[in-house]
Amino acid sequence: MADPELFRFTIDNGLRVVLAPDPTAPVVGVSVHYDVGFRSEPEGLTGFAHLFEHLMFQGSESLEKLAHFRHVQSSGGTFNGSTHPDYTDYYEVLPAAALERALFLEADRMRAPKLTAENLANQIEVVKEEIRLNVRNRPYGGFPWILLPPVLYSTFANAHDGYGAFEDLEGATLDDCAAFFDTFYSPANAVLTVAGDFEVEEAKALVEKHFGDVPHRPAPVRPSFSEPLPTAQLNGEHTDPHAPLPALAIGYRMPDPINDLDGYLAYLVLAGVLTDGDGSRLQQRLVHVEPLVVDVGAGAGLFGPFEARDPDTFTITAIHPPDVPRERVLAALDEELEKLASTPPDDQELKKVTARWAASLHAEHDRLVSRTLALGAFELLYGDASLVYQLADRLSAVSGEAVSAAAKALRPDARAVLVVKPASTEGTEQ
């Protein structure tokens, strides 16, 4: 299957555009990725990037509060947005007839969102409910994405809670919003992606028509978030009032995702060798043979791979019974890494992982929303959306030696170990 054709260009105000036509179904996906995530939020304003994402849905010069939702949905579409370490995305998937409407909606809020004190107060409450739902009222809430970074990292940018502290959220002002918008939400700091059923020339004209007069503002200078590698095992502990069983999260640093993509991909293959499927090494040993844990998983990125620049995190997580000492889990893990470090996995073991990756990338591209978002994120972070279509081949090219080297780099003396303790080790009877 040939790679789909991509059209990439930049309009006068600095907005980068990716067009990915595909006539197989009469639907379109539109996304805007802004180059700002929770690593960029100011100190004292934890959770602000995500709170601001909520505000971008609350009206603009042309649209009153609630109109954005209504116009997308009454065109037959769905929408959402999400905040990541290094970017914030907004998207719609709609019947193809609604393409111009979707472009209008995104352009209008890029040009002139209506930021009001009333909407800010309302969305602070909504975000607090979101945090209660996903973190505070739930077992293993925020595990490990909120709890692990402060153990592994030492700078505010990398270590703080991207969902935010309630007092920071409550302290956010309208002026903070205005400053954040003017700094980070300029067209020169964004990527527009359109994928699906459209004519390229017509789409180009529509992009120019709606986004062309969003005034240029310079993109902010992006600071480096790099920090030194750990030189010892870093330990952290968290007591979870709702968790019935202890859990562990181990965090390691990874190669620079952008400047050493192939090095990064070796860690993805390693994650598969470790925990993907019943035959994987840690599933076999820790779950089925010994058995020490209830569940174990490994992967790149706090929400998945390809959503952050350097530094990015390789995580291994496990939930285990209270009578299994965590030292045994860690020792077994280190032994398995040691084995991989000295003897590379063979071709069959690699093929299992890379065939599953190839299939999951196909499946991701088959869902228009995932494809649109992947193209936008790669254009923003890597400067090249077409990398999305090369990933399966590049993963298949990862050698056993590269996986071995990645395993060797996951050293006990350069990692973070977060322990989650249940508030009570009693049963869960009520």
Binding site: P26, S62, K65, R70, T78, V126, D278, K352, A363
Partner: protein, 463 residues
């Protein structure tokens, strides 16, 4: 400059940002909508009684497989045995052990998993399309020859008990169990998460016996969607699954009691920082002529983001992150469920507003504008929801369980187009009448009881 300094640098005010010299602009109208292409498909019954829906959708070189087998049981141990069966069905056959199954499926880029609920056993899979013969071979092997080795059963039983402990601390599981019990009493449908002590008793003999008695093709449905030739699928399946047969039919869940309204129960969960509001009322299934109007009434009430309920309790009042209403189809019946999770301080107020919106839906029915909006949404989400292989497979499976097929999917836009605002108003008044609803509120009873009692919510006796 650091990013913090950049943010503090000179910037416009919020008011200046929200204004341009040209002023507000008009919303562009919709363009021409091309219809989705007709999909070549086969809908047939194999010699063993298995219904098969195969659809060609070659957007990527993959196939999606879904198998639903009616799998009910009234025995007190059924839920526990069925859960252990689902956890161990893929752990070995005479021809392949657990690791070999995983390896064979992995090498075709595939995935095969199993799950169970009180109504059905579910097997789902994907693979690169040239791996379909392998996927079907493994599936056939598992359906006819799963061995349920003692060691595998013992290990999965133990793991399941630990997972049940984790599951029962999830607010949504707690709320779901409370709702099931309150609305359906002891009916087998309530046993969604088995009791840990029952799971501990399950033997491999019992699991094998359940497989022999209940993993049956007659009455089950298999959906295949992807880069395949549907015409060839029945013969391929006769080859791969021909050995899977029985004279008996798969076991169907006994009909559910019809829900009657009233009596919303406060179920205590000490120390909770958020409450789960769960309301439910009897409605009608997809085949009922009133269903399209009911579907639109539900969307207007709480079935999408631009609904009355979400606009009220989230976007206006900030009481919740998400409020939602939607259908739950079981056998030939359907109910509508209304859900919201809210902080303790606003639970009573959110409950009141939810009831208020139920009253209002009947007395101030959806306007012509609301009806057009939900109609477009319903038609558009059919197009977007079925534009991927997995989305289409999921939709077809849901329909197949009601005896429907791809023709229903293709003709549904016409039914939605034909619904009048009066029909939506009638459906709203009839099915969303507040008196029809029952339900639970799960939360910190000490804090919630006084206010909720004033709203007619009684407190459960058991803590």
């Amino acid at each position: 400059m650091t990013s913090a300094e950049q943010v503090k640098a000179a910037h416009r005010s919020a008011e200046e940002i929200g204004r341009t010299a040209a002023g507000p602009r008009p919303l562009p109208s919709l363009g021409h909508q091309r219809a989705a292409a007709d999909l070549s498909h086969v809908d047939t019954v194999l010699s063993n009684g298995l219904r098969v829906l195969a659809v060609r959708k070659a957007s990527v070189p993959m196939v999606e497989l879904r198998l639903w087998i009616p799998f009910a049981g009234e025995d007190a141990m059924h839920a526990a045995t069925a859960e252990v069966l689902a956890e161990t069905v893929l752990t070995g056959t005479a021809r392949r052990d657990r690791v070999e199954i995983d390896a064979e499926v992995a090498l075709i880029g595939g995935d095969l998993n199993a799950g169970v609920d009180p109504e059905r056993l579910y097997l789902g899979g994907t693979a690169l399309s040239d791996g379909l013969p392998t996927l079907l071979d493994v599936l056939g092997d598992v359906l006819t020859g799963a061995t349920y080795g003692d060691a595998e059963v013992a290990r999965e039983r133990e793991r399941l008990i630990e997972r049940i402990a984790v599951s029962r601390t999830q607010p949504r599981t707690i709320a779901r169990e409370a709702l099931q019990k309150h609305r359906y009493g002891d009916h087998p449908v309530t046993r969604e998460v088995p009791q840990a002590e029952d799971v501990a008793e399950v033997t491999s003999e019992q699991v094998r016996a359940l497989h022999n008695a209940s993993v049956l093709p007659r009455g089950a449905v298999l959906v295949l969607v992807g880069d395949l030739d549907p015409q060839e699928v029945p013969a391929e399946l006769e080859r791969a699954l021909g050995g899977w047969k029985s004279d008996r039919s798969a076991v169907v869940l006994p009909p559910l009691p019809t829900l009657t309204g009233g009596n919303v129960l406060l179920v205590p969960r000490a120390g909770a920082v958020q409450s789960q509001i769960r309301l439910s009322a009897q409605t009608v299934p997809r085949v009922d002529p009133r269903y399209p109007a009911l579907q639109l009434a539900n969307l207007a009430f709480g079935g999408y983001f631009s609904s009355r309920l979400v606009e009220n309790i989230r976007e206006d009042k900030g009481y919740t992150y998400g409020a939602h209403s939607g259908f739950e189809f079981t056998g030939d019946t359907a109910v509508v469920n209304v859900d919201a999770d809210t902080a303790n301080e606003v639970t009573a107020a959110a409950y009141l507003e939810t009831r208020y919106e139920l009253f209002r839906l009947g007395t101030v029915p959806p306007t012509a504008e609301e009806v057009e909006s939900v109609r477009q949404y319903a038609m558009g989400s059919l197009v977007t929801g079925t534009s991927s292989q997995s989305g289409l497979a999921g939709q077809l499976m849901a329909l197949a369980s009601n005896g429907l097929g791809i023709e229903w999917l293709q003709s549904h836009p016409e039914r939605l187009a034909a619904v009048t605002a009066d029909q939506v108003a009638e459906a709203a008044a009839e099915f969303f009448a507040p008196g029809r609803f029952t339900g639970v509120v799960v939360g910190d009873a000490e804090l919630l009881a006084p206010k909720l009692a004033a709203l007619g919510v009684s407190t459960s006796e058991k803590d």
